[in-house]
Subunit: 355 residues, 2 copies
């Protein structure tokens, strides 16, 4: 083994203690790795399955540094980690996927600039720092669009649809005057995503693209294979690879695309394991969680080929209580205490032989 | 859900904290279950992934009763649990697979009697309580055989091969005069095993039989499919089902067979998840560990059909250190501190598309 390969028994630090952290911890345990979760909130669901939990705020530099000294590598389950927090530990222990991926993916303007710098198509977009900016941008756009805050949006939050310049003031108020981006509305046939990984040695693997259906801004189902042309599938995988290489990335990434009559358009990417990759747990030898653990520990990437077709369905709120009755289906339950409406509580994966 | 269905969030008590308990705890976590491991030894590897560990001896009735009061169901990862311990908790909480399966499987004489009572073929056998018994039995056998202690044998321990009556005294001394069984030597083409499960509602599922290769009494590989006739495969599965029903069993069982020119002969069964069922982790939608958890929690059994062919290889002692280099292969590492020679440290599963 090389020096930068972490052996079984090493400890992975995970920033964030939600279901993604939980499933990372379970995958790490399969490989004999220990996990230490850092999470501000009480009783994180990842805490049930990891070795150790530090409960502290993300801007508690001292707690973060103690945490960093107790682990061999740090990763994160969500992209809104404070960059100052990362900078405070990066000289103590490797942080993977890495600072640049975080910085870019947590700011929609940087993300769009980065993608366009790679000549990867995105929606038309304008930087919006004031109501006046938004009014000007909407006149340029001359059609419907979506204003999104640059930072801290997820599951459809921090977004307002606009029909034209007449909506300027309403939209700006709804977004609380936060720095934003106006995006032109993309007419698409369907939404797909690619889950891909890059190893410490620069090797890249990608799972087959999945087709996503959202409801109320929240992912409802991912179906694999997606109903797309082979050329579109290849384009999606190659685009994910270009993003990974450009970021000198280590770990799993989720890249969301719109499939349009003029080809693929990237919606956004997430520098972490991704809800639309949960299907890999039941349909691939090495799932996205283990793939991420392998990558950040310097192990060879695993076999991501699909042995089965799959439909993943998120279980939201009290849908979780019906889960045990589903036969012929894999169920994952996140162990969250309260089944609040719309809250991701678990997921189902129905598999069928690969067609 | 019925009253006897344990919901996600319930706690499973596991007697024994080795790798089988560890993988049961990880499977339970996928379903949102909590786990509490009871184990006499220090730092059990299952303790790294469960919610809680009680360190106490199996005959510590008070500790066992405290343990029982903290869980919703008790199961075990090995069959040599003291029956008195089980009796001390059985009125507090359900113990599954159940007392009778334990009692029979931990005593080779009771096991053989039970199987023969079901007209299931076994090796010829004689009860041996003294050197004189052994001498008489060897004269009846009139050929080579194996003397095995009735209790506490595993991985080839507590067994002595004998060529004939002349070996009586040597064998009896080697077994420390423990109550034993003489078994006639079975000439077999290969060894197979069936992993099967029975639910609380009496439904039964079985995985496809695997072909086992042992070295020095320790399982080395399991290959699926086994090289057997369809009629032998069916016979093996039906036999496992008869054993499950006769024991009013709840959970996963492992049944080992010799394949002979005259059909199948049962070697033994284990009332628990089984090393020869680890291949299901990579080749089936629901693996043996989750199947066991589903059964003992009263959930519907899962889909045990095989989507891939598989070869499982145990990693013994320092073989574990080569594990990360294997690509195209799933690896499981048990997190044990010391890689002692012959110790089961992890396993590999190589899969190929189902033929």
């Amino acid at each position: 083994m090389q020096d930068d390969v972490l052996p079984s028994g090493a400890t992975i630090g995970i920033l964030g203690g939600g279901q993604l952290g939980r499933m990372l911890a379970l995958a790490a345990a399969r490989l004999g790795m220990r996990t230490h979760v850092f999470e501000p909130s009480d009783a994180p669901c990842a805490g049930q399955v990891c070795d150790r939990v530090t409960r502290a705020k993300y801007d508690d530099v001292q707690a973060l540094q103690r945490f960093a000294r107790s682990v061999d590598v740090i990763t994160y389950e969500f992209e809104n980690v404070d960059l100052n927090a990362v900078d405070g530990v990066a000289d103590l222990v490797p942080v993977r996927p890495g600072r640049r991926a975080l910085e870019i993916s947590q700011d929609r303007l940087l993300e769009k600039n980065f993608l366009n710098g790679l000549s990867i198509p995105t929606a038309a977009y304008w930087n919006v720092e004031s109501a006046a900016d938004l009014g000007d941008a909407l006149e340029h756009l001359a059609g419907p669009g979506i204003v999104k805050t640059r930072r801290f949006g997820y599951d459809g939050k921090g977004q307002v649809r606009v029909a034209g310049a007449g909506d300027t003031d309403t939209a700006w108020t709804a977004l609380a005057a936060a720095p934003s981006v106006l995006e032109g509305f993309v007419t698409f046939e369907r939404e797909i995503s690619v889950i891909a990984a890059r190893g410490l040695d620069g090797s890249v693997v990608a799972y087959d693209p999945g087709e996503n259906v959202h409801e109320d801004g929240i992912l409802r189902t991912t179906t694999v294979p997606a109903r797309i042309k082979p050329s579109e599938s290849q384009d999606a995988v190659l685009t994910a690879g270009r993003i990974l290489n450009a970021l000198d990335y280590v770990g799993v990434i989720g890249v969301e695309f719109f499939v349009t009559g003029n080809g693929l358009v990237v919606n956004e990417f997430a520098p972490r394991v991704h809800n639309s990759g949960h299907w890999t747990q039941a349909a691939c030898l090495i799932d996205q969680f283990e793939m991420h653990v392998r990558a950040i520990c310097g192990w060879p990437l695993g076999d991501g080929s699909r042995h089965s077709d799959a439909v993943m369905t998120n279980l939201l709120g009290d849908e979780i209580f019906a889960a045990p009755a589903e036969t012929g289906t894999a169920v994952h339950v996140y162990g969250k205490a309260e089944a609040l409406p719309g809250r991701k509580m678990g997921h189902l994966i129905r598999t069928t032989p690969r067609q």
